[in-house]
Symmetry: C2
Subunit: 150 residues, 2 copies
DNA sequence: GTGGATGCAAACTCTTTGCACCTTG
DNA sequence: CAAGGTGCAAAGAGTTTGCATCCAC
């Protein structure tokens, strides 16, 4: 179904290059280092395909454009070709640095928070976003809040 | 500075009418019940003014258009604007119902989560969003997903 | 009467889509 | 060669802004 175009490869390898959570324009920039003529439309189309394939996951933070990260597919390469519809656990939380604007994956979860909801409400999932300064920005002078690296 | 226009009044009373967290188009709909000729631009402009005045607060949830809620201003009118740092800011979390799409304010907070961040990161704030079914939608048969309350 | 507020339309950001052309298998 | 992907441009949602008009003060 999916053809192995240079563009598809470029989009996917953009994640390996950066190894972090990327916006569509950031993916475009990385992909253009490999295929300079690639367009933003193709990035979005390949991102959609990769999302459908479960290769990457969408990361939406409040007030931010969508980002994408490589999905953690525990044992997809182990010969288990039978892929059950939903990958059970894309349950991640994120840290948004107000210094450089980057988003980092957190490897911890505060656990279920069903008790925060009012009586009679049925909690199905939760999202946590942390804001602050990443290690680099703390080192670079702490109070540099707000200015974006460009 | 601010003139008491019918539109400003209509926008502000939209919140009293609904008493919940509203998107701009929802504010427009409520305001039009009072001032039918009001435009979406004016809603956005009045919302900006009300935000600047601290009358309302912006509520941004992942993957959702911005919403607005009346700000809790503890005792701003009493002349005592200085507080002990207890709840100077409106630190709220929200519940997003996947049934009716409404957003509800939560009155609890899981507390600081600085330990979720990697070493060297400086956590300044956190946001929590719960997803699930509100009491009405649970009562209405749970899987009523998608239909909006008019 | 004057200046801030309004309504309309255009602009802007982010994302999706229609269409003619090109590439992969 | 044909199915499918690509680039460009245009369309959409959500939000902001320029401008002539209007109305609260």
């Amino acid at each position: 179904m999916q053809r192995l175009t240079r563009q598809r490869n470029a989009v996917f390898s953009a994640f390996s290059d950066a190894g972090r959570v990327l916006t569509a324009p950031e993916i475009l920039a990385h992909a253009r280092e490999i295929v300079p003529e690639i367009s933003l439309s193709t990035v979005y189309r390949q991102v959609s395909a990769l999302l459908a394939d479960g290769e990457i996951a969408k990361v939406e933070l409040p007030g931010e454009p969508a980002r994408y990260e490589v999905a953690c597919k525990p044992d997809e390469a182990h010969g288990h070709s039978h892929h059950d519809g939903e990958e059970a656990d894309h349950h991640h939380h994120y840290f948004h640095c107000s210094g450089c604007g980057q988003v980092f994956l957190l490897h911890a979860c505060p656990g279920p928070m069903d008790d925060l909801a009012p009586q009679g409400f049925q909690v199905q999932s939760h999202e946590v976003t942390l804001h602050g300064l990443c290690a680099s920005c703390v080192g670079a002078g702490g109070k540099a809040g707000g200015h974006k690296a460009h």
